[in-house]
C-alpha cells in the first residue's frame, strides 16, 4: 500500500507535534513494506507538489491539529485549491489536539466527513486523540511516551486501510473524564501544571506571568 500523507499543521515541521506523531505512525505503517510520501503544508513551496500528489493518488491521509474546533486556516487555504475527485479516492484523517477528552474532537471530526463529501471522495475515518500538547515541550523518552502508541495505529491502518476498526476508537481514550478524575486534574491545573507552564515559559525567554493582559 502507498499513502500520500499531508500534514496540515501551520507550525514549521521541526516544531510540529503532528509531524512527531506522523514519524511514529509511518514507522508502524511501513513495517509490512508499505510506502508513503509526506507533504507538510507549513512550507508553501511544496503546495504544488502536494496538490499533484493528491490528484494522482487514491489513498490520502490528512494529519492535522485541531485549531479552534476545526481545520487550521492555513490548511483550509490549501484545501480550497484542490480539485474535486471521485469515490475511488479515500480520505482518512489523523486529528490531534491538546485538550485530552475525545469529546473535544467531535466537532472537528464531523467537519472532516463534510469535507470528504465536498471533495467527492470516500471517507476513510478519523483517528482522534488529544492530550498531545506535551509533545512540543518534552523530549526523548517523555515525548516518546506520548507519540509511541501511534506506531501501533500505523500498523493497524496498514492492515485495515481505514480508521473504522474498534481499536482506533479505543485509542482516543475517554470521551469525558469521570468526576473524580476531573477534580484531581483541576487541582493539578491550579498547582503543579500552572507552575510547569510558567517554567516552560521562562525557558522560552518569557519574563511575564502567563496571565499578563497587554490590552487591559
Amino acid at each position: 500500500m502507498h499513502a500520500v500523507i499531508i500534514n496540515g499543521s501551520p507550525r514549521i515541521q521541526k516544531n510540529s507535534n503532528t509531524d512527531k506523531i506522523l514519524q511514529k505512525f509511518t514507522a508502524g505503517f511501513c513495517k509490512a513494506g508499505n510506502t508513503f510520501e509526506l507533504y507538510s503544508l507549513s512550507d508553501r513551496n511544496i503546495w504544488d507538489d502536494a496538490r499533484l500528489a493528491f490528484d494522482n493518488n487514491d489513498n490520502i491521509i490528512f494529519a492535522l491539529p485541531l485549531f479552534v474546533e476545526c481545520v487550521p486556516g492555513l490548511m483550509l487555504e490549501f484545501l480550497e485549491t484542490l480539485s474535486s475527485k471521485n469515490s475511488d479516492t479515500k480520505l482518512s484523517f489523523i486529528l490531534q489536539s491538546g485538550f485530552a477528552e475525545g469529546a473535544q474532537l467531535r466537532v472537528g471530526e464531523k467537519y472532516l466527513e463534510i469535507l470528504t463529501e465536498k471533495l467527492n471522495c470516500t471517507y476513510g475515518g478519523t483517528l482522534t486523540k488529544g492530550n498531545n500538547f506535551g509533545i512540543r515541550v518534552f523530549e526523548g523518552a517523555e515525548r516518546d511516551r506520548i507519540t509511541e502508541p501511534y506506531k501501533e495505529m500505523g500498523e493497524l491502518f496498514a492492515e485495515e486501510g481505514d480508521f473504522f476498526d474498534e481499536k482506533f476508537k479505543t485509542f482516543t481514550g475517554p470521551e469525558m473524564y469521570p468526576l473524580p478524575l476531573r477534580l484531581f486534574i483541576d487541582l493539578l491545573f491550579k498547582t503543579s501544571a500552572k507552575k510547569a507552564y510558567q517554567k516552560i515559559a521562562q525557558q522560552w525567554g518569557c519574563d511575564k506571568p502567563l496571565e499578563y493582559q497587554p490590552y487591559a
Binding site: S9, P10, R11, I12, N15, S42, P65, F67, V68, E69, C70, V71, P72, G73, L74, L76, E77, L79, E80, F99, A100, E101, A103, Q104, V107, K110, Y111, I114, L115, E117, K118, L119, R136, M176, R182, I185, D186, F189, K190, A193, K194, Y197, I200, A201, W204, G205, C206, K208, P209, L210, E211, Y212, Q213, P214, Y215, A216
Partner: protein, 168 residues
C-alpha cells in the same frame, strides 16, 4: 463594542450594517479585512508561553484583537468553501488565541482554557455562499463555549437583518 470583521470583498454588507448600527446608536467598528494584511495562525504558542497575550505575527490583526480583549461582540463576515467558512474567515477565529491563556480548568465537564480577560467577545457569523449551516452553527456554539462567551448565531447574507437585530 461590536466588532465586525468583513473578510469578503462585498462592501454592501458593511454599508448596510453601518447604516443600521448608526440608527441604533451603538458603539461599533467595522474592519474590511479583505484589504488588510492578516496571516493565518502559525500555532507557535508564543502568545501563551513566550509573549503572553501578544501574537508574534506583526500584522493588521493586532488592531482587531485589541478591541476583542474588551469583550462585546465579534461578527465575522465570510465567504464559504467546502461547506464551511473559507480560510479568510477561519483565520479571524484562529488568531483569537492571544485572548486565551495556557492555563486550563474544567467548565461544563470539559477541559477549557482560562480566558485572559474578564470580558470575552460573543461570536457570530454572517456568510455568503453555500455552507452546511447546521454544522456551522454547532461549530460556532462550541467556539463560544470554549471562550466562556455566548454564540450569536450564524446567518446567511440574506438573513442580515436578523443578524443586525442581535448587534447590541
Amino acid at each position: 463594542m461590536i466588532v465586525i470583521v468583513n473578510t469578503t470583498d462585498n462592501k454592501e454588507i458593511s454599508a448596510l450594517i453601518q447604516t443600521d448600527l448608526e440608527e441604533k446608536k451603538v458603539e461599533y467598528k467595522i474592519f474590511e479585512a479583505d484589504t488588510m494584511n492578516i496571516s493565518p495562525c502559525l500555532g507557535c504558542n508564543y502568545c501563551w508561553l513566550k509573549t503572553p497575550g501578544n501574537c508574534m505575527i506583526n500584522d493588521d490583526y493586532e488592531q482587531i484583537v485589541k478591541l476583542l480583549a474588551k469583550g462585546g461582540q465579534m461578527w465575522v463576515i465570510s465567504d464559504t468553501a467546502l461547506g464551511f467558512i473559507n480560510h479568510k474567515g477561519k483565520n479571524i477565529y484562529d488568531r483569537l488565541m492571544p485572548i486565551v491563556t495556557m492555563n486550563l480548568e474544567f467548565r461544563d465537564k470539559l477541559m477549557r482554557h482560562i480566558m485572559r480577560y474578564d470580558t470575552r467577545p460573543d461570536v457570530g457569523v454572517i456568510f455568503q455562499g453555500e455552507a452546511d449551516k447546521e454544522f456551522l452553527d454547532t461549530w460556532n456554539k462550541k467556539v463560544a463555549s470554549n471562550m466562556n462567551s455566548e454564540p450569536l448565531g450564524v446567518y446567511e447574507v440574506n438573513e442580515i437583518r436578523e443578524a443586525i437585530a442581535c448587534m447590541q
